[in-house]
Symmetry: C2
Subunit: 299 residues, 2 copies
């Protein structure tokens, strides 16, 4: 499929992920208008040819497709619904694509608000981290009306390798929550296993040799266990951000009348990670929180 | 390394795993003496050339290396310490290899008792299931004195692909517990994710497409999630056996003064699986237990 690079593209949110993702659009020849709360972080994109706009609304006013990749649900609300936000200025017929991991209910709210203005909204959170963003190997989980999703699909394909429409509005965010819930379980399993193994006096390198090819095999074991062995707790994915995601998933689960005790436990444990001052460490810092627990101390 | 098939080998426990594993020894030309509580299950091995003995002790009396692969820790105790058991009859200089998944402390007990008779004991639990046993692709986690482990290594290599000495007596069992603790976490993560996804109205096939290549990727997601989608809860690994393993791991953790809340949760949830009458289903029946929980009902 050839891509019409005449499409005016807007990009809001140029953190580590956003800079890399938007960079792929620029490299493919798109004219991109950018905004970020901290302008300096957008500089690499401006140097690469992007045009600066002074607010999210100003981006939306000149764009046919607007991407947002910001931090927390509160940031998404501000960027869309704030006084200088997207919603007041979005062009009829345009498509708004929120790639932030945020609440499925907020995604539906954006969809409804946009629809009232004759604007389409798509939720498209990603997994794959900064490496996936740089190498355009992200998995993008897409929710929204089929026609709108089709319009943005060629651009999403420039940013990732696995682009799947999950269903209607909000379903991209729900799929991302499915992803985070699995990770919550694997993190607990891997970190508890390592706490156990060390206490039992095992050489965890040898244990990994024995177990990573079998039914215990998982990305977390392959990628984070070796870091824990080196006591490297630097962030691939921030514990603070994971707590945000776990909170979203728990809230949504609660709204749906679900009890997910493993997910609830993960949040309690990650709040302990934060209480230990490791919120800005990687998710593997869960190991430190578990290591500090003793059965006589209670939970 | 050439193998001396003159070594007299004994095999006790000819369930699904044991028959396949012992079969590889027979196929390699070893003379094997077998015993099983239910004789009929040993018949395929007898047909293939194994000699029947009428008790574990009778096996031990004529064997230089004795393998045991039985069910529960209580069965291991009976087979080794019972009146007609191995310990009273084991030949000085022989090696006893327990491949049952059992308590690390029991493995050390066997080691000490064997040592008093001038007999070596090795713990060598496996992972890989019946498929791994049939195809000789098991992972074998080995604990014991180096010399004893070296003596049995060529035979273990006939049964598996990944044979790693973890350390001294009991360390094979501890490594197996590390394996089970990781699986406990991945099972909770995957099953809760699927309960969430279905309630959110997602097509779980599409969700798997989006998430199984990334940080949520794990054996459980690749192998058991598709079965859950088909609502196939037939056993690969029995929930009942997993409850046994979780109990062993929790007991050992308790002895070491560790609190492992994810592991404790896994046991509570799998006891619920049993209470629902699904103990003889596969571990993926955890999905059914979680599906039946509601947030208003409490846990």
């Amino acid at each position: 499929m050839s891509i019409n690079t005449e499409t005016g593209v807007g990009w809001i949110g140029t953190g580590v992920m956003g800079v890399a993702m938007c960079g792929h659009l620029l490299n493919s020849g798109f004219n991109v208008v950018v905004f970020n709360r901290t302008r300096s972080k957008a500089q690499p994109l401006i140097d690469a040819g992007a045009t600066w706009a002074s607010s999210p609304g100003d981006v939306a006013a000149v764009s046919e497709i607007v991407f947002t990749m910001v931090g927390f649900p509160g940031d998404v609300r501000e960027v869309y619904f704030g006084a200088a936000g997207i919603m007041n200025r979005a062009r009829p017929g345009s498509v708004l694509v929120d790639m932030t991991t945020t609440e499925p209910t907020l995604a539906r709210e954006l969809y409804v608000a946009a629809g009232r203005r004759g604007v389409a909204a798509v939720d498209a959170p990603v997994s794959g981290g900064d490496v996936g963003a740089r190498n355009a190997t992200l998995s993008v989980m897409v929710g929204g009306d089929e026609a709108a999703v089709e319009r943005v699909m060629p651009l999403l394909r420039l940013m990732g390798r696995t682009i799947v429409r999950q269903g209607g509005p909000g379903s991209g965010q729900h799929a991302k929550m499915c992803n985070q819930i699995v990770i919550a379980g694997t993190m607990i399993g891997v970190c508890e296993s390592m706490v156990y193994g060390y206490r039992a006096g095992l050489d965890m390198e040898r244990v990994l040799q024995s177990i990573n090819g079998g039914a215990a095999g998982c990305w977390t074991l392959n990628n984070l266990a070796p870091r824990i062995i080196r006591r490297d707790f630097e962030p691939g994915f921030y514990a603070d951000h994971f707590v945000k995601d776990l909170g979203i998933a728990l809230d949504e689960a609660g709204r749906m009348g679900l009890e997910l005790p493993g997910l609830a436990l993960a949040r309690r444990l990650y709040e302990r990670v934060q209480a230990q001052g490791h919120g800005a460490k990687g998710t593997q810092a869960l190991f430190l929180a578990l290591e500090s627990m003793r059965s006589d101390a209670g939970q």
